[in-house]
């Protein structure tokens, strides 16, 4: 919003805004002019069973990352289709690792799983996106986003051409996803949405999207498999997928004050190490990726507006670009705690430590 109106005369923008206020029903208009005020993350692991350990580890790793970068637990919807931590086959009870060095236990003390086990269904997922819940569903399980929200939607599991498998029994199709996103757009449930999918043929899941403000990245193109990164021979399963592994590697060097752009994330994927081609779709997205910091989606870093009068703070027609950027206070206690832990976790979680990607193709599990 700030950049798009940067060079335009102020008067025009004021006139336009008056116009927009008059035509309140125009959804697209209102969201494009609304400020980015909050961040949400929906993290979904769709597969069950012990041999899909890595999908839960992927999701928990992302969970840890977005929490570390400032999205509080109450704004993260975490969906885990199975409970690997308490699986009888887990050699390390109540612990989940995403690296064979076992330095970081992803299943620590403050993991809030919102949907677990058989609650992770296509129906529930679509209800979360569209916000059409039964009355009894608590607020903590709802996506309470608004037209100023940036939402990160991360999904991992087994997929194929235009579908993602849920729970070994049902599928989310690309049409379903596109339809839900369209509904969200019309209900002004987001300002911008980043969909990140780690599955085989992930790119096909985006093919039906048509709502503006949506950015999508997938681990592989149509016809490609996504592979697991390495096998933990102690636990006896593959613990992380390649795409997620390199995503995490990118974020581990960042903290919430860094200004790394989305394009630097998207170009960081090397098809040789990934063994698939990361595909991103930008045609629905208005801003230039070079100008969008990754913390716009993976963190919760708000621009604080310095105003003379506190009562006029949120009226965006008197908006002036502030020069200082600070973490917003609205993310609350969870945010601060994450900040405190930050440095320790960074030391522990460097994924480059002691990793040897196994070359044997047998050990590479694909997601197709």
């Amino acid at each position: 919003m700030a950049t798009s109106f940067k060079f335009k005369p102020l008067t025009i923008s004021i006139l336009l805004l008056f116009l927009y206020n008059a035509i309140a029903s125009s959804a697209s208009g209102s969201s494009s002019t609304t400020m980015h005020t909050n961040n949400w993350a929906i993290l979904v692991c769709t597969s069950r069973f012990w041999f899909n350990y890595r999908h839960m580890a992927n999701t928990l790793s992302l969970y840890r990352t977005v929490k570390r970068l400032g999205i509080p637990d109450e704004r993260i919807i975490l969906m885990l289709a199975d409970d690997m931590a308490c699986n009888a086959r887990n050699k390390y009870p109540a612990q989940v690792f995403n690296n064979e060095n076992h330095l970081l236990n992803l299943y620590g003390d403050n993991v809030e799983v919102d949907y677990r086990g058989y609650e992770v269904t296509v129906e529930n997922f679509l209800r979360i996106l569209t916000g059409r819940h039964e009355r009894a569903v608590p607020r903590s399980k709802r996506l309470l986003s608004d037209e100023g929200s940036h939402i990160l939607l991360y999904m991992t599991g087994h997929g194929g051409d235009e579908f993602l498998k849920f729970q070994d029994s049902e599928e989310l199709q690309s049409h379903d996803l596109a339809d839900a996103v369209k509904q969200m757009k019309e209900k002004r449930r987001f300002k911008e949405l980043l969909i990140m999918v780690d599955t085989c043929q992930a790119a096909t899941l985006f093919s039906q999207l048509q709502s503006p403000g949506v950015l999508a990245i997938g681990s592989s193109k149509k016809g490609e498999n996504s592979y697991s990164h390495h096998l933990d021979s102690d636990v006896g399963v593959s613990v992380v997928d390649r795409f997620t592994f390199y995503t995490l590697a990118f974020f581990e060097s960042l903290n919430m004050y860094d200004n790394a752009s989305l394009s630097s994330l998207f170009t960081s994927y090397n098809p040789n190490t990934l063994m698939s081609t990361a595909y991103y779709r930008t045609d629905l997205y208005q801003r230039r990726l070079e100008e969008v910091p990754v913390t716009n989606f993976f963190g919760s870093v708000m621009e604080t507006i310095h105003t003379d009068s506190p009562y006029r703070a949120f009226s965006n027609r008197y908006y002036r670009k502030s020069k200082t950027e600070m973490p917003s206070d609205q993310s609350g206690g969870g945010n601060r705690r994450a900040l405190k832990d930050l440095d320790i976790l960074e030391e522990l979680a460097d994924p480059k430590l002691n990793v040897r990607p196994l070359q044997s193709t047998y050990l590479l599990v694909h997601e197709g």
Partner: protein, 779 residues
Amino acid sequence: MNEHQGAGARQVLSHSSVYSSVFRIPAIPPATSLPPFPRQEPYSLIFDHRLVQTETQLQCAREWRESGSLTPTMAEVAAFVKPKPRPIIRIGLFLISQSLLVSIICCVAGVLALLLLPVLAKNTYISENALMPGSASPMLSSADASDGHIFLNKIMSMDSTSTNTGTEIPEMIGKHIIESGGEVNYHQIQPISDNFHPLQFFLGPDVGIVQENYSCTSYGINTVGIVRAPRGDGKEAIVILTPYNSVKTTTSEALSLGVAYSVFSLLSRVSWLAKDIIWLAADSRHGEHAAVAAWLRDYYALSRGDLEKNQDMCVASSVLGHELTSVQRNGVSNGFRRAGTMAAALVIKVADSSTGFEKDGLKIYAEASNGQMPNLDLINIVNYLAVHGQGLQVRVEKIWSLLDSWWLYSLGELQELLGKVAKSLNPDWKFGIPASDYVEGCATLASSLYNQALGVPTGPHGAFRDFQVDSITLEFSPRFSSSQRVLFLLHVGRLVEGVIRSVNNLLEKFHQSFFLYLMTSPSRFVSVGVYMIAFALLIAPLPLVAAALFSDKLKSGKDDVSLEPSHPGESFPTFTAWNWLHTAKTVLIVHLWGAIVTIIPYFLSQFPNSSPLTNLSMWIASSLVGLFFTCAASGSLSISRASQLQIREWTLLKAVTVTAAFIGLCLMSVINYATAQIGALLLVPMCLMAVPLRIDMADKTMKALLRGACNILLVFAGFPPTAFLMMRGALDSFERVRIDDFWNWTESLRAWNSATYIYICMVHLPCWVLCIRILLLRR
């Protein structure tokens, strides 16, 4: 004119029923023999396909239509003027008319397809995602292996000290299990009599038949150790089975116990178990299979009350009465201990001497009763872990004598050459394997086929398969001096641990991979979809030939009527379509006789101490007497009656015999494919060739004489004892073949409840007798 109208009748009826078009139309009595068609009958009669339509009727219909007195609806016209029957019927008719050529082609193709199976074999692959063999590094350390070694030394020393009553070893195993944290219980088994009980043939071994005259010392004692999965739900279990003879334990049995102990003690410490582990040290003094089967029966059947009563009898006094400390006593239970349903069972054996292996070898036995196989995934994970994890050389059984056969080798070279030629024509065509691989594949395939056809389990794993538990026997052949035993224990222990960890990952029963397959090497298999082709080709001519013979007979029957009107009395019952019922009765009676032959050995077994040869000859003699009486009672095969007509009826008799053989083979292929396949190889040529010798003699052409000679040869080879002895001789050597082997062989088939026995007596033998009957028909 008449011919033309007959064709018209066939056309009209054909779309209502296939059979009517093929069989019923010619069966209709000639129009002349019918009363005149009542013209005043309603028009609808003519187009009602349920009614028999004669040429006369159709002629009437045509006349009426042409005169325009009644206008049929469009649909009726369409049905009437339909030019030809459907293509499938035409193809069927064509095949029937060419039945000789078709049957030659099909039989040759069937045998060729069978010989091509090693080429068509696919590489095995692990189908179930959850198994993930080898993804976890083995945890069994050399310390565990040396513990196992100490354990085996103890057993060996115990065996060398005399006064062995068979309770010391179970006691010691129990003590060790408790020390490593498992639960123990002892299970006593009685020797089961292996008498043949025809009524319980399909019910499995008898439950609860206890021989009274056995003393306590003659009971075998199974030692059962159980490790509960620390965080598992206790609903499933994996079984390790080590059979050993508690009275006289050999070194190899002690080695297998050592392996099991080192794995078991490791598993009692690990935190990743999701399924309970059962270690069954089965006392094999009354036979390995009997001990395991008895334990399994009690595991799945016996109620609690029975158990406690049983336990009080002997085991409690013999084993539990010994010096057990109070701590140990807590772990030992009088009751029968159970874990969950069994996911898989591994039988660990060590061969006495390694034969033909360059390094430590592993031989996999998988065939259970009636040709049932464990899921292929179980063999795959064992093979994968043994080859890639522990560097063992893996084998499945093969028939060694086939390896040297020149004809197999030249066949192998031929297919290799063909493969090369095909590749030079088009690089994408890839078939053909090296000739030596082909011969190996054939030898393994033949062994696989033979063991499945026999229907007798190749090891104690067979007892598990009776309860739908997937299990295999792993027979290790160590190649070492005794100083390297620890290393051997380490390798084998790690393999067993790896397999158990892999099965532990399983979420459901084994179901992903194949159950119906033949192995051509430990890593190659032929699935059911491929090997059924050979069988299908082989039996395809049977229904065709039956149909051809039947229609020929009907045609000739018609001719006979027209030629010989001088026997008006006989013509009606002899030459109607229902004449085949008489021959069917004959065939049915011979099959009934087969059932009698099946149960004769039960009566013979009532006479104890008779030699196998006596039994065999008694069996044959009583069967012959039985045949005579059965036929005399039914009067169907009596030589006196209507002997003139017999020679003409041979085609009918052959048609029904061929049909019976076809039905029998099809049924058998559902129960045990391998038996049906081997049976078809013997039965199909015999049934198809059978022609009365008199006809051949009368012909006096070279072809006819050759056919007669072939017939005699086939019938000679088709007699079950000669077929068995010839097969024995061909695979082994003719010097060692004795006639009474056949009795012993059938006895073992009966003892193992093999359906092959039923097949031989109730399908093969009656068809053989009927073929002889056809050959010997008189003019």
